[in-house]
């Protein structure tokens, strides 16, 4: 200690102190900073296979290194969750250019999808694929999910998740068939027209509550025929054409003379 005290007026002392301070700050930051989410333990082999798949199927639009082009966005930093959502729902590879990518049967099996996701995740940190526990509808609170859904989602996806129209041919899809994992990923990554609901604005627990509410809607309505849950349009059509038709038929029958 004495030796250290003796050298504290040394002319390099400030430089040494500054270096020390920087080292401590960096070390503390590295230890405390939120670790960027990454695809769970992807081997280099997976990443290489993923890269080959990417170059064969995606590079035409997204560029050979996923840097994006005039027609397609860069995929650096979109994360595994985004790839898994787009590919497992069949939206990517995109069938044709249009207002929005249409859902179709998935073009890659689960393993290939995971390899593609691993490759894209290796390009830059982004949201990871949620764990089974994060999307387990049994663990969520449907009532809170309903409140969150009304505020954040219902304006586009309809109060019970039946979907709805947006502008210029775009639309918010119905959510009854969507898997729990895909619902979570869509909130996290904001595919296409959908805005992003990151973990700070809608926490992972709140996302699970929303999933619980949506899973609850799959059983349909207790009231019987829901007519697509589309509200006054389909209900009005039914009332005016079928309901009024029946009433007119009954009036004609009552007024007609018996033979």
């Amino acid at each position: 200690m004495k030796a250290l005290a003796a050298r504290r007026h040394h002319r390099f002392a400030p430089v040494v102190l500054l270096l020390l301070a920087l080292l401590v700050t960096g070390g503390v930051y590295a230890a405390l900073a939120p670790t960027p989410a990454n695809a769970e333990t992807a081997s280099t082999e997976d990443i290489e296979t993923g890269q080959k798949l990417f170059q064969a199927n995606c590079a035409t639009c997204h560029g050979p290194n996923a840097e994006g082009s005039d027609t397609a966005p860069s995929l650096v930093g979109v994360g595994a969750a985004s790839v898994d959502f787009q590919v497992s729902t069949g939206r990517m590879p995109m069938q044709m250019d249009g207002p929005q990518a249409i859902q179709k049967p998935a073009q890659f099996d689960e393993e290939q999808t995971a390899q593609l996701a691993a490759y894209v995740a290796s390009l830059g940190a982004g949201p990871a694929i949620p764990t089974d526990e994060q999307v387990d509808a049994e663990l969520g609170d449907a009532a809170n999910g309903a409140a969150l859904f009304r505020t954040n989602c219902a304006m586009c996806h309809n109060a019970v998740g039946a979907g709805g129209a947006l502008s210029e041919g775009k639309f918010a899809p119905p959510l009854w068939e969507t898997s729990e994992r895909n619902i979570y990923q869509a909130m996290l990554t904001g595919p296409q027209s959908m805005p992003v609901f990151n973990d700070a604005t809608v926490t992972p627990e709140e996302k699970r509550d929303i999933i619980t509410f949506l899973v609850d809607q799959r059983e349909g309505s207790a009231g019987g025929l829901s007519l697509g849950s589309l509200g006054p349009v389909s209900e009005g059509l039914w009332a005016w054409i079928v309901g009024m038709g029946l009433l007119i038929g009954a009036a004609v029958w009552i007024g007609a003379k018996s033979s």
Binding site: A147, P195, V196, N198, E219, S221, G224, I254, S258
Partner: protein
């Protein structure tokens, strides 16, 4: 039965519809009279009548079966709390009650149509006015009453009774108008509860929002940050309805224009906040398309461009959505710089801007 079985015009000639004679009088329609009575199968054939009777009895029988089925269903299939269980219970109960009621209705109508007498009848209308004698007597009695009361002679009484009758409705009208009158404060429409330094919170949880938490492409539905107790109060609903805001973070390079006047900055690093109340008729505008930065109103498809100061790009709205000036406080939370600089929502009669 009518005695006018053989319709003719008074002079016995046929007249065309709408024909005018030499005096310009439109020709009257000939009374077509009643059509010839046509007897039904059940009138001619006793076998058909019997068949009709059986049909009516069967319809009432269906009603009886429906009623019994409804009672059975009520006890056998109670709603068990699951969606499918409630659906099955209400569906079976509803179908059984429908048969129970339709059976009665159809049976009664079929009975009337097939078996009850269907001979045409004419009922003559009688004049609505009473005869002259009754009317004269009524007027005489009224006049006698007026004379007896002496109202024409006693001016004071006349004034008193008219005043009493004229004043009484005030006991109803004054409280009625008075209770409405508490809320004639139009200035309420011109401001919301946002004020300088008030934090922006997430709807519905009420968590305050840090600027760093809002990533590009995010949208947050925002309410003013007030204590939990205040959010349970009755006034909160009114205040929230005016103060709701949609917060969006854009890539700052995408922002074309803002509403802030020269020298002021109402956004924070690409984060912009706009009133969620449509300037057309006040629906909550919240359908945000991330790629086009368009904000769509679900009611009448008014579309606002968030990157361009929420200008109207489509639809019936006439004004951009008012922008809430925001910034961050010392702790990194998003706060309002002030209230909105213009009234939110649809135009109203005293709106100046």
């Amino acid at each position: 039965m009518s005695d006018n079985q053989n319709p003719r015009t008074p002079d016995g000639s046929q007249r065309e519809l709408g024909h005018r004679d030499e005096h310009g009088v439109v020709g009257t329609f000939a009374d077509p009279g009643l059509p010839e009575h046509r007897s039904r199968q059940a009138d001619r054939d006793p076998e058909a009548a019997k068949r009709g009777e059986r049909q009516v009895a069967a319809l009432f029988g269906i009603s009886v079966i429906g009623t019994i089925a409804a009672l059975v269903v009520y006890f056998v299939i109670p709603p068990d709390g699951t969606t499918a269980g409630v659906r099955l219970s209400t569906l079976t109960l509803g179908v059984a009650i429908a048969f129970a009621l339709l059976g009665i209705g159809l049976g009664a109508v079929h009975w009337a149509k097939v078996l009850m007498s269907d001979h045409e009848k004419v009922d003559e209308r009688h004049p609505i006015a009473s005869d002259e004698e009754t009317r004269v007597a009524a007027v005489a009695e009224l006049e006698a009453g007026v004379k007896d009361s002496g109202i024409a002679r006693r001016g004071v009484l006349k004034g008193a009774v008219i005043s009493a009758l004229a004043l009484f409705p005030l006991t109803i009208a004054v409280p009625l108008v008075g209770s409405v009158g508490g809320d004639w404060n139009v200035s309420k429409l011109k401001h919301t509860m946002w004020k300088r330094g008030m934090r922006l919170a997430i709807d519905p949880s009420g968590r305050p929002i840090k600027a760093a938490d809002v990533t590009i492409g995010s949208v947050v539905h925002v309410i003013p940050d007030v204590p939990e107790e205040e959010r349970q109060s009755h006034e909160w609903i009114t205040e929230k309805a005016k103060a709701v805001v949609l917060l969006v973070r854009l890539d700052p390079r995408d922002i074309v224009s803002e509403q802030a006047p020269e020298g002021e900055d109402w956004s924070y690093d690409g984060i912009v906040a706009f009133s969620k109340i449509c300037t057309h008729v006040g629906c909550p505008v919240a359908l945000y398309e991330q790629q086009t930065h368009h904000l769509l109103c679900p009611c009448h498809q008014s579309t606002f461009d968030v990157a361009d100061g929420a200008k109207v790009v489509f639809g019936p709205a006439k004004r951009p959505l008012p922008q809430l000036p925001i910034t961050v406080d010392d702790e990194g939370y998003l706060v309002a710089q002030s209230d909105f600089h213009e009234p939110i929502g649809p135009s109203f009669w005293e709106r100046l801007k």
